[in-house]
Symmetry: C2
DNA sequence: TAGGTTTACGACTGTGAGTCGAAAACCTCG
DNA sequence: CGAGGTTTTCGACTCACAGTCGTAAACCTA
């Protein structure tokens, strides 16, 4: 599970209480029960840590069967990517904390690679889909949205370009209202919302388009 | 497994000899054995049908756990996408045949959706990676490569643009040799090859690039 | 050798992303 | 109440690159 908090992209991790990897940080998850869908299983295990209704998006990341996983048993592990909108602060148990993806602690198994794969998937999809809806609150100003993109992408983003691109693609729509900026005055910003909160591909890749 | 044969994108299917879905066409595959990697398992099952050394590329597609699969047992199925270069013609058993993806027969389970997902994945990656190497023979003319792209993408492609784009990205390189076109004379075409035969992302998506 | 065919390549066009600056709309402080 | 500072908005400009087109090159066959 990833979320932008405090202008940084962070991952929800919990500290293991048992061997192997005692005291190392780990991704939430667990075993599949019979008669259960993969996604049902994920949601069940996540529900132990957070309120799953706050998940704005959940998608399959990859399936792993590497040998360097838990050496006791040969496992097939399904990694999922979940996204939580900014500004919600789910209640989490004692052993669970958010960690900036840019400064991860020692992680159990191959969980570090999984987190980085999730970050990369998010970065790519921010460019050609409307996943932004899963990072943003229901309404927001363009500056706030820009800050979310900066945190997730890890580089500067022009608010002007962001607005132009997302408007032309029909991803954003103005609410008609405006909100005064928090601190030092300034022109009040217009509020926007995502037109849809379901994943859609918005960029037909630039190259080798059909003619016409 | 997909391959461009006869100017059409085709999928390798075999006809089931047992219930359920008796006589329906089906994707090659089978069960995972203990102590086996997912990819090892896939290659083992494919080896029954074809010479797996002819696979130029193999990647994970998706993992399914739907209820409308084999109703007898609840299964987790891992779908893979394999690509075979044009102009190789692997020996296949009696019950196995290539079928154009655009005119698939009745398929068992949800295999039809899997084949279409594989086709879509291939189409997308042709635009922003160098997967072309897995569809093309070792050396080829630009017209031949264009025809492969047309078959896979399903729409016209300009040979001029294809050349310019793939050369600028450093995906193609000329071999220095040339080959007379098959039939009616004409200027002999220069031969090209893919600089690398490992999957690489070559298009940093058009949108929201880092500044500079 | 003339005409046909295919490939190669430069020039032009058009779209859209990145940049910049001015104007708008608010605040606070004197 | 006005001046200066701050933030947002929006148009205009630039530039990179994909798509189009026409001509020249290099071969074949009759």
């Amino acid at each position: 599970m990833l979320q932008v908090r405090g202008a940084r992209l962070q991952a929800l991790l919990w500290q293991r209480a048992r061997e192997p990897f005692l005291a190392a940080w780990s991704l939430p998850g667990g075993y599949l029960e019979p008669g259960e869908t993969l996604e049902e299983s994920i949601r069940r295990h996540l529900a132990v840590k957070v309120d799953v209704r706050e998940l704005a998006h959940l998608e399959q990341l990859e399936t792993l069967s590497e040998a360097h996983r838990n050496p006791l048993e040969w496992e097939i592990a399904n990694a999922y990517l979940g996204l939580v909108p900014a500004e919600v602060d789910p209640v989490v148990p004692e052993d669970t904390r958010w960690h900036p993806v840019s400064r991860l602690p020692e992680l159990a198994f191959d969980h570090r690679a999984i987190v980085l794969a999730g970050r990369d998937r998010l970065r790519a999809k921010l460019s050609y889909t409307n996943v932004g809806f899963a990072l943003a609150p229901p309404e927001f100003t363009l500056s706030e949205l820009r800050d979310l993109y900066v945190a997730a992408l890890g580089h500067e983003v022009s608010a002007t370009n962001l607005q132009r691109v997302l408007l032309r693609r029909g991803v954003l729509e103005p609410t008609g209202e405006r909100r005064a900026s928090g601190r030092a005055g300034g022109r009040p910003a217009e509020l926007y919302r995502f037109r849809s909160r379901r994943l859609t591909i918005t960029d037909q890749f630039a190259v080798l388009r059909p003619p016409g």
